[in-house]
Subunit: 360 residues, 2 copies
């Protein structure tokens, strides 16, 4: 089945709490594990009733979902930093929603929340699963809903702790970030500028490069579609590269490895160029540059920093408020468009943090 069997009108305003039994929950479930790029056949579109909240539980209406490169990894079998999504399960996704039914005083009806809601119109969470879903209330005065999925959400946290804790930037150093116009790249580059670094982005296409330099204030941006990244690094990193925040892997990682400085730090955040590679991953053949330069390559998983999110959010929200940091989101509408929307991440089609708007 490649679409929902039936589409039920989803209430888009809420003057009075809805009767849950009158709602039908559209869900997108993992039907099979993709080899290479996921297709519509890898998904099942199901509709089921919305459950009542149990003791201490809540029902959340999904407003918008975060679409992230990491989702591709969750579709694969095998050990990783979190278990894979099981066949037949609702696809995992972080999102923002509104509480529409509640037996929990911390999350009253009407409250806006962030958490792992899944690719579905409603998320019914029993009381004992709120913590596992990472449910927290968000304040729309601090940032827009889409900013709460971007700079103030997982991508922002990833960029913040990857750069600050693993990268440890010092003023005057040169920081390079790939996927520069993407969700994590935006935060990394702007934050590195605020810390006094020279910042060079890598992105695909003139429009993204212009955005990164003119809107976000990077010192330069290399268009990997226009010519060898190595040449761009030579031109724009005359003092070499001290920190490389890698979101893409593959040839670009190898190119940066040829330009790193002594004691450079490479933050391995992702490898989007490799996620749909049905062959084995391409390893960095220039990794011995780590030896020559006494450099370090280190992985980051954002969940490790959960107890410090509030500190990072406070700092980043301050930058957003006083205009020192900007954010850009690419909003796609409609739960049903999820299969194709996700693919925009891998083609590089999205421009800014990719968000799926599910409801108003």
């Amino acid at each position: 089945m490649v679409s929902f069997e039936q589409t039920t009108a989803i209430p888009t305003t809420m003057s009075t709490p809805p009767v849950l039994s009158s709602l039908s929950n559209q869900q997108i479930r993992l039907a099979s594990r993709p080899a290479g790029s996921p297709t519509r056949d890898n998904w099942n579109f199901t509709t089921e009733p919305v459950a009542e909240p149990g003791p201490q539980g809540v029902v959340v209406q999904t407003l918008c979902l975060s679409l992230d490169p990491a989702m591709r990894g969750w579709m694969n079998e095998g050990k990783s930093y979190i278990p894979p999504v099981g066949i037949g399960e609702v696809m995992r996704a972080g999102g923002i929603g509104r509480v529409i039914a509640s037996q929990n005083a911390d999350f009253p009806v009407g409250a806006l929340v962030s958490g792992s809601l899944g690719v579905q119109a409603y998320c019914a969470l029993p009381g004992d699963q709120l913590r596992r879903a990472g449910l927290v209330r968000i304040d729309p005065r601090v940032g827009s809903l889409t900013q709460w999925l971007n700079v103030l959400g997982m991508p922002g946290m990833t960029g913040y702790f990857g750069l600050m804790d693993v990268g440890q930037p010092k003023a005057g150093e040169t920081v390079v970030v790939s996927g520069a116009a993407g969700a994590v790249g935006q935060t990394v580059g702007q934050l590195a500028k605020l810390k006094g670094c020279r910042v060079v982005g890598i992105a695909g296409g003139q429009a993204k490069c212009d955005f990164v330099v003119k809107e976000l204030g990077f010192d330069a941006c290399i268009d990997y579609k226009q010519g060898p990244v190595k040449d761009g690094l030579k031109a724009h990193c005359p003092q070499g590269v001290d920190i490389y925040f890698d979101n893409v892997g593959g040839e670009i990682l190898d190119a940066v490895l040829t330009r790193i400085n002594r004691k450079a730090r490479i933050i391995i955040c992702g490898a989007i160029s490799q996620y749909n590679n049905p062959e084995s991953i391409q390893g960095p053949k220039n990794y011995l540059s780590l030896l020559v330069n006494r450099a370090r390559m280190e992985g980051i998983v954002v969940f490790d920093y959960a107890d410090r999110y509030p500190q990072a959010i406070a700092e980043l929200a301050g930058y957003l408020k006083d205009g020192r940091m900007k954010s850009r989101e690419d909003v796609v509408e409609g739960l049903e468009t999820f299969p194709e929307a996700l693919l925009k991440l891998f083609s590089g089609e999205n421009f800014g943090k990719l968000v799926l708007k599910v409801s108003d």
Copy 2:
């Protein structure tokens, strides 16, 4: 020319200082850069008079030379942690020698010294080049001459600082080291045992594996010639791998990457499996295990720790003295055998630290 034009008798005892002009200095110079494995054609065998020491200078008779995997890298063109050996230059090599002529009170005639002597029978060092050659006096009561090239020399220093500074072992952790019977591997494994770790070596052949376990006291040793390293790691590292000290690169690095623990440290010391690879280096295709495990891969160059050598030597000499650490050297005789002796490192033929004995 593939051998020395003439062989002059080299004085092997020294009751009275020799007349320098009566000595002829046999030297092995780089004739061309090898593609792949070096052959005899890549070397020139020359003989020249021994120069008088200038002001503050010394002349050192080479007693033994250290043959190291890193030498293969010095033969290549291109930027590295030290400049390549120039075509026509005497091949670079660290060694132990005896001062036979001196105008420097710090290095009197008869003193034993360690430093970059080159692949030659005598090394005449002007006063302004002593520091560049890293010339230091050594005490034969602290260790044998070959130990001064092994545990107390560059391999020992590399193992010591790589393990202690980059690896930061904690008691109870599992440490894996490749090239376990080799110069660096011996020190790393024995030191890690002394620090309370579980230590698993990787080496080629039953004899080396037996030596590593029975003589050096490793907990286990995986024979990479006998079966998949991955299976050996599963069997011998039931708690996973916390520290991997990599001397070999290639498939073995990839196998270990599948078994690392969260926050693991991988020390990149060398990649002997790749040095004679005329194709491009094989990158670790499992490097994303660094991400999943929030692990770190970091290069080490021993020269960075030069000011702390004395501290490391003192500690290691203590272990040698009280028998808590053993050393094994593989001694090959005769300067002229250098081209073939060097290749033993890459075939895995050497058993212990490879030393070329040049004179008594």
